[in-house]
Assembly symmetry: C2
Homo-oligomer: 334 residues x 2
């Protein structure tokens, strides 16, 4: 197994990315790690000579605020692009990056390419839930102009992912909507509802946004615009609450003491609610295990993403997806 | 001034609704309050004989889980419908309810009717923000199939509301989108962006969902589907965090003590983040001051909603909206 790592993406690149990779490499001697990026910068953080770590030099870096498709076209020797090419050329089975999310999706779509039958790959983070093991939400990739067929395909890809990765036999599939009745939502959602009902998936109906974190389903399907709003709203609300809490705690001696006593509780809570703790977001529907780790990834997050990629490959997730795509008589037109 | 109150809507009806109204009536002897609902039940909570409180008997109640339009058609003598009729017939200037949101919007649209030129009235709660006095978000009313013209009209209605109610001279109008560039989003949003740029409103561009609570704009425009997802996500995340916090605090003696010391801080925080504290949500674009108070409203929330309705009327908000609608050359077709 060979895993390509974009060493230059994320707030703590390359240091934390390289450290996370080295630690994983020591634990997984049978996996080859290909660290992609500016070699001199990468070498600063490699003090051991590991047989299963290779470095591939890439001169350029895609910045977090660059326009994805333009960046991809302009920076042909960017670390992320080179990592994606390794997957494309089957010199790697997986790629991991903590860099520009849009560029990650674009390199999955344009460089690596889609599984036969897939029209829109979906970015699929796991949302934390108070019960169960989280909900895979897809697509959150800000893809515009969804068609019913895309969402149904995402439901299938998400179900296979959750069943392979978490061992859930028949993952419960929900459709994000503004009410539980089948008649709710726009024409897109009504059509998707009907198609999911008729599918062989374990479709449990519409799910309202306020119920997601209660673990009401394993796979939640939505169009890429709505998913993006959902993800960003959740991020914004959670960070506002935690920041306000911090400010409140600093307010008096009593609250400072209270904050100290509650520190372990706060840490557990923050961890439990942080979707980053649930690993990176896979890009489902492309020809490889492509994992987007959060921009603020530290070495631990990178190690998690590596484990995720490893499991993705070991479980034959991609083959299962390809098989299911072939079995389906419905062909989707772009 | 005459304000109609639906005494039968909300989790704590009629008790808290009546108590809130009575308290407001004592403070505002110049306002007449018309309490609508089952008279015997209402009388249980009225121990004083106030000259400025009238009761209008209505036999039926629209339940919170009823299908709005059906309920409206079936229950012609429902308290909410009767209250709306009072506004329609100009026997009241305002109506307040803590009942079924869908039925509230439907009775605004169907019973009271729209201001001339308005196609879709918008439900517009104020979102809390850490800076400033909150953001009016509209539409969150789960209206489907928005057109660019509707959203631009909502921006105008929202701007007038925030300028009248909060004294903000030129409210900053933002457009909810998945990125800040004008090219972001679907065709609807691109068209709205252009129209808002060309309008006389203080349009400041696209706003991402994660930045709303930072107070980046005063009026945030979105279609009713997206707004509903936004609102419900925020509700779900906040309540999950607070519930988890409660559970964590109960975990040990130390955390219990910590929780006790932090109780005032938690209360302030919860209050600051609770959009209910920012008053009820007006339904903008109908011929009256119609305020939807939260389902869990207590007497304080009802008193807040009454103050809001009072201000809405006193400031001539409706006249200003009607004037602006007439001034605009652009006519909107349904």
């Amino acid at each position: 197994m060979r895993i390509a790592i974009d060493a230059m993406g994320g707030d703590h690149a390359p240091k934390e990315i390289v450290y996370g990779t080295i630690e994983s490499a020591q634990k997984n001697p049978h996996i080859t790690f290909i660290v992609v990026g500016q070699e001199n910068k990468i070498r600063e953080y490699i003090d051991k000579d590991l047989k299963n770590v290779e470095i591939i030099h890439a001169t350029e870096v895609i910045e977090v605020d660059e326009e994805p498709v333009k960046a991809l076209k302009k920076k042909k020797d960017a670390s992320m692009v080179v990592a994606a090419k390794l997957v494309k050329e089957k010199r790697a089975d997986a790629m991991i990056t903590a860099g520009n999310t849009g560029a990650f999706m674009a390199s999955g779509l344009l460089t690596i390419g889609r599984l036969p039958g897939v029209v829109r790959p979906a970015l699929a983070p796991v949302f934390p839930s108070t019960k169960g093991s989280g909900t895979l939400v897809l697509d959150v990739g800000a893809n515009m102009d969804a068609k019913p067929e895309y969402l149904v395909q995402h439901a299938m890809l998400g179900s296979i992912y959750m069943s392979k990765m978490l061992g859930i036999t028949t993952p419960r599939v929900g459709l994000l909507n503004i009410g539980s009745e089948p008649s709710k939502g726009n024409e897109l959602l009504k059509a998707v509802y009907k198609m999911l009902e008729e599918s062989n998936l374990n479709f449990i109906g519409n799910i309202e946004a306020r119920d997601i974190m209660e673990g009401s389903c394993d796979v939640l399907v939505c169009d890429g615009f709505t998913g993006n709003i959902l993800l960003k709203t959740a991020e914004g609300v959670a960070s506002t609450i935690f920041n306000s809490l911090k400010r409140e705690i600093k307010g008096s001696v009593f609250s400072k003491l209270g904050g100290l006593l509650l520190l372990p509780a706060f840490k557990r809570l923050k961890k439990g609610l942080d979707y980053r703790e649930y690993g990176g977001a896979p890009l489902l529907g492309v020809k490889g295990a492509c994992i987007k780790s959060h921009g603020s990834s530290d070495r631990m997050a990178i190690m998690n993403a590596i484990n995720q990629a490893k499991m993705f490959i070991e479980k034959g997730t991609l083959d299962e997806m390809a098989r299911e795509l072939t079995n389906r008589s419905d062909t989707i037109e772009e």
